[in-house]
């Protein structure tokens, strides 16, 4: 055995022995490695072999595929969200979105307070003016409000969750609802007159009447107001056409239940007619002049009462059959700029601002998504490297 106590000899001997303990590199392998190094590790066999080797080198190992695919999926989802958000933001500039967003007042159904009853009010949220316009007309009155005893009436659920039994009013009397609509349109000064003409045209087209109108137009702008009477059964159509004339700044719709007044007037008319029959019958058998005169006096009063009740009924029926639509037309600069094909510095500036806003939105949304995703990826990369390092060390420990 060698003497390992001499440190200088020990180091030289130990070094030589340790190096001798390892088999030398095989000459064949050495030659092959020399060749590969000389070729720059390009594979033999031309382009096909190079492509195969490159693909094999570039394709990640199986353990890397899962996180890579996960990250790719995350990025795709993020892109879809960004694109969707941008698309939505563009849609919000559209007419339909503006129509919904600019409703200033919700519609309402008011039961007839004029009749002196304990009227109740139901407010309706209006998501879609056209839809809600139609809905308003179909809402039946509550029996409490109408004062008419109903029997086994179907119920209607309002948007706020309340349920009311629909009216089972007297046979022959349907729902009587008076509706009213306020519509504010905005347009450019140049188109004010055209839009005003359009309002009249639409009104006539649906068989309505322009009760009054006032158009104040100038180069700087102007305004117009219209009071229209539209057949209730054409109201939806009319509102739809009016909304297409210009930008809808605001719209409110309401409905007042006048069934109770109608029923009350009808009852009184019926009573008056019955009284008239009784008076005529009594007049037929009256013998004394005084009696005859008294009955005639009462008949005159009765006749005027019948005429009055008839008038009331006609008025109520007219209120139910027609809807008053107040249209206000503005051109005060708040209307959206409508391109007339010409180039203006202001229009270009607005366009540039819009583009910048969209770009800023995209950047902001992208950052909101990509920054956390990037942080997660960095953390995942660090964790992967730490795990790989730990596993390598574990492999050495097992060796």
């Amino acid at each position: 055995m060698p003497d390992f106590n001499d440190s200088e000899l020990l180091d030289a001997v130990l070094l030589a022995d340790v190096r001798a303990s390892v088999p030398p590199m095989r000459p064949e392998f050495r030659a092959e490695l020399d060749s590969r190094v000389a070729r720059g590790f390009k594979p033999e066999g031309g382009l096909g072999a190079w492509v195969t080797a490159t693909a094999a080198r570039l394709v990640p190992p199986r353990r890397m595929l899962l996180p890579t695919m996960g990250a790719a999926t995350t990025l795709i989802v993020a892109l879809v969200v960004v694109v969707g958000a941008v698309h939505d933001s563009r849609d919000s500039d559209g007419t339909v979105s503006s129509l919904v967003s600019t409703h200033s007042a919700p519609g309402s159904i008011d039961t007839d307070t004029a009749a002196g009853g304990d009227a109740s009010t139901q407010n309706l949220e209006q998501a879609d003016p056209l839809q809600s316009a139609g809905r308003t007309a179909s809402v039946p009155a509550s029996p409490e409000a109408s004062g008419v005893a109903g029997a086994a009436a179907p119920s209607v659920t309002f948007d706020d969750g309340t349920r009311q039994k629909s009216a089972a009013s007297k046979p022959g009397f349907g729902r009587k609802v008076e509706r009213h609509t306020e519509l504010t349109l905005s347009t450019s000064a140049k188109k004010l007159q055209d839009t005003a003409d359009g309002v009249v045209r639409v009104t006539q087209g649906v068989g309505g009447i322009v009760e009054n109108s006032n158009v104040d137009s100038s180069d700087a702008g102007g305004s117009a107001t219209f009071t229209l009477t539209i057949p209730s059964n054409r109201l939806d159509d009319a509102v739809e056409q009016l909304s297409k004339l210009a930008h809808v700044s605001s719209m409110s719709q309401g409905a007042t239940d006048i069934t109770r007044s109608f029923v009350s007037a009808a009852d009184k008319l019926s009573d008056a007619r019955a009284e008239r029959k009784a008076l005529l019958k009594a007049l037929g058998v009256a013998t004394t002049p005084e009696r005859i005169e008294t009955l005639k006096a009462r008949l005159r009063v009765n006749r005027s009462e019948i005429a009055g009740y008839n008038g009331q009924l006609k008025s109520l029926r007219r209120r139910a059959d027609n809807t008053t639509v107040n249209v206000t037309l503005n051109s005060d600069g708040t209307a959206p700029v409508e391109s007339d094909g010409g180039w203006t510095f202001g229009g270009a500036a607005d366009d540039a601002l819009s583009v910048l806003q969209v770009v800023a939105s995209i950047v902001l949304i992208s950052a909101a998504i990509l920054v956390p995703v990037g942080l997660l990826l960095v953390l995942a990369l660090l964790a992967t490297r730490a795990t790989t390092r730990r596993r390598r060390e574990q492999a050495l420990d097992r060796g």
């Binding site: 055995m1 130990l14 022995d17 390892v22 088999p23 095989r26 390598r392 050495l396």
Partner: protein, 172 residues
């Protein structure tokens, strides 16, 4: 390795020549180091080739400020060797049944001594055996060994000293 080579490695236009020089100077040591970890000729050759190929492809990313090119090359080889250990999952059988290596005989006394050293190395903890390989085969300084293993220089020196002491004791 000279400073000229370090600078050449850092420059893409001369990196191929610098890499060739590095290969000529380190090929045998790298192979011996890989064999010391894997104790298998074929695996050692695979790792040696893979380490040089990776180093060649990453030669433009060599940063001289982070250590010598030998340290960088043996770091690559170490990762490749450990990955090979993980991949093959035949570590236990290799430890139990290492490849026989016939030591060149230079005399009966040398033969006995080297056989003793070989047995001692085979019985050593793999980490100690790696330190011996880095010190005796690669000829790395403690600073370079620290860089390869990702530990401090003083820690590397302590570990190397302990490993050499264990080897000496095992051979005594």
């Amino acid at each position: 390795m000279s400073d000229t080579l370090i600078m050449a490695l850092a420059r893409p236009n001369t990196s191929t020549m610098a890499f060739d020089a590095l290969y000529r100077s380190c090929a045998d040591e790298l192979h011996a180091y890989a064999w010391s970890i894997l104790r298998d000729r074929a695996a050692a050759e695979d790792v040696t080739a893979l380490a040089f190929e990776r180093a060649y492809r990453k030669r433009h990313r060599f940063d001289a400020s982070k250590g010598s090119e030998r340290q960088w090359l043996f770091g690559i080889a170490r990762n490749a060797a450990l990955d090979e250990l993980r991949r093959r999952k035949r570590t236990a059988s290799l430890v139990v049944d290492p490849e026989d290596h016939v030591i060149a005989d230079s005399g009966p006394e040398d033969s006995d001594r080297r056989a003793t050293v070989q047995k001692a190395l085979a019985a050593m903890d793999p980490r100690d055996r790696e330190l011996i390989a880095l010190k005796f085969h690669a000829g790395l300084s403690n600073e370079e060994i620290a860089g390869v293993l990702g530990i401090s220089e003083s820690n590397a020196g302590t570990r190397v000293h302990r490993a050499v002491t264990k080897l000496r004791e095992a051979c005594s």
